[in-house]
């Protein structure tokens, strides 16, 4: 009987030495990381963890001196020796923040369009330079800015349509309730020739919106490329005897609509000027992820 027990124990021991079992865990949340890949670097074989992060590996003959590579999407890969894993079967992986963002942004199922152009009849912005901004709210379920869409007027005047402008993103200024501190420090510059609707993909800037509300601004660049000339008559409904005035406009002529609450804001080109609440709102909408 003793011999039988010894025989069984020795078999169990041998089996235990031939397999490595452990769990892959998120270091920050202490939750299991499902479907992580575990690979013997020398033997070039391995296995996947299950939905609970549990993996079971069969050791090769020289497996004791091999190294294991733990990898999962959204985590920094980790190398451990077989000995280390046997001693401590809980493997902690660190989140790779940059990769996580990319994964979220490319998830089309979560995309959501916020805002509409709400353009009135023949309304456009007589753009003398400066900035125009619109207020947005990021839903609690979303975080990243994916696309910014701008509608502009091309047909009302025979002006050339090519333009270069910048997009700015701001937090709310708690005092004025208008645009405040800048969220994205990258320069988002747009070049468009003749599109009525301009789509700007901002995925590469990884813009995470963590405070609500926020503002999207269109900054006109008062350079010769954007400059257009115009004459109008003031007073008397444009009668011939009234004075003609020259005026300089800058492309783009963003379409405008009627605002809800404090949606529309403007920062004049005049040096030292401050954001002013408008009774119009620029035709901007966004896609979030």
């Amino acid at each position: 009987m003793k011999a039988l027990i010894l025989l069984i124990l020795s078999f169990t021991n041998a089996y235990a030495q031939k397999t490595i079992k452990g769990t892959v865990i998120n270091e920050r949340t202490k939750e299991a990381v499902p479907f992580a890949t575990v690979t013997f670097l020398n033997a070039k074989n391995g296995a996947n963890a299950d939905v609970n992060g549990v993996f079971t590996l069969k050791r090769t003959d020289n497996g004791a001196i091999d190294t294991l590579l733990f990898a999962a999407i959204g985590y920094t890969p980790l190398k451990l020796t077989v000995g280390e894993v046997i001693r401590s079967p809980e493997v902690f992986l660190q989140e790779d923040v940059k990769t996580l963002k990319e994964v979220n942004i490319s998830d089309k199922r979560k995309e959501l369009t916020i805002g509409s152009y709400n353009i009135g009849n023949h309304l456009y912005f007589r753009n003398n330079g400066g900035q125009l901004a619109k207020r947005f709210e990021m839903p609690a379920t979303h975080q990243y800015l994916k696309e910014i869409w701008i509608n502009r007027n091309l047909t009302y005047f025979p002006f050339r349509t090519e333009t270069r402008f910048r997009i700015k993103i701001y937090k709310e200024n708690p005092k004025t309730k208008g645009p405040g501190e800048s969220i994205c420090l990258d320069t988002i510059e747009v070049h468009d020739l003749n599109n009525r609707e301009i789509k700007v993909d901002v995925t590469k800037h990884n813009i995470s919106i963590t405070s609500n509300p926020f503002f999207i601004g269109v900054e006109t660049i008062p350079i010769p490329y954007n400059e257009r000339y115009y004459i109008f008559r003031a007073g008397n409904g444009g009668a011939r005897e009234s004075t003609a005035y020259y005026e300089i406009f800058y492309q783009p002529f963003v379409s405008i609509g009627r605002p809800k609450d404090n949606e529309g804001w403007s920062l004049p080109l005049t040096p030292g000027s401050k954001w002013i609440k408008l009774d119009i709102v620029p035709a901007i909408k966004i896609v979030v992820n």
Binding site: N127, P224, Y229, I231, L267, I276
Partner: protein
């Protein structure tokens, strides 16, 4: 045989003429799309003259013709289809190089030429009868604005806030015809000069690097 001789002589004459006449800073009405002479929020344009610098390969050439691009807004370019009077009179100067400052120096004409134009986007000025000889390799063609009531126009300076109820910002300034074009050539320095109200020449760099030259071309012979 005689015909052949005649044709070859004709070709050689054409070739000589083509070699001799050289157009510097050539412009075309479709290539001029930006203009100066306006008061802006970020530029107070109060210059007396604007000059374009030209360089030739050989000294001693003769100025044949000057062309100038000016702003003519199309009739349907205005809010109320305004046919704004475009007739103007301005003065044309030709200057030698001031070798000390690199700016326009002595005048190469006895007196400035008064030029009248009605509505041409490209104003052509024939200078052959004046026999203007350029002593060196560099010279300047300058436009002087005549600030009289005929040339005077009004500029509306708005600051983006005109749509705020009760806060309509409007400032009016005087501007003067003609509004001269600027072009971008493939170079990194400006060859446009302006004369300040103190009659000092200064290099005009306000629109750099987007615009390098005034829309003034010069045709010279003897090159």
């Amino acid at each position: 045989m005689r015909y052949l001789l005649f044709i070859s002589t004709l070709f050689s004459v054409f070739a000589t003429v083509a070699q001799e006449n050289l157009v510097l800073n050539g412009i075309h009405k479709d290539s001029v799309r930006f203009y100066i002479g306006f008061q802006k929020v970020n530029e107070q344009f109060n210059y007396l003259q604007a000059a374009q610098k030209f360089s030739t390969e050989k000294a001693g050439s003769t100025l044949q013709q000057v062309e100038l691009g000016r702003l003519i807004i199309p009739v349907n370019g205005g809010e109320a289809r305004i046919s704004e009077p475009t007739n103007t009179t301005f003065l044309l100067h030709i200057y030698d190089l001031d070798s000390l400052t690199g700016a326009p120096g002595n005048s190469l004409m006895k007196e400035p030429l008064e030029v009248k134009n009605r509505a041409d986007q490209i104003v052509k000025i024939d200078l052959r009868k004046y026999k203007i000889r350029i002593p060196g390799k560099t010279f300047f063609v300058s436009i002087e604005w005549i600030t009289n009531s005929r040339n005077q126009r009004f500029m509306n300076l708005s600051g983006n806030i005109e749509l705020v109820p009760g806060k309509r910002f409007r400032k009016t300034a005087f501007i003067y015809q003609p509004f001269i074009g600027m072009v971008k050539n493939n170079k990194t320095v400006s060859d446009a000069w302006v004369m300040t109200p103190e009659r000092q020449w200064k290099l005009y760099t306000h629109n750099m690097p987007y615009m390098t030259d005034l829309a003034i071309s010069a045709q010279v012979s003897g090159q």
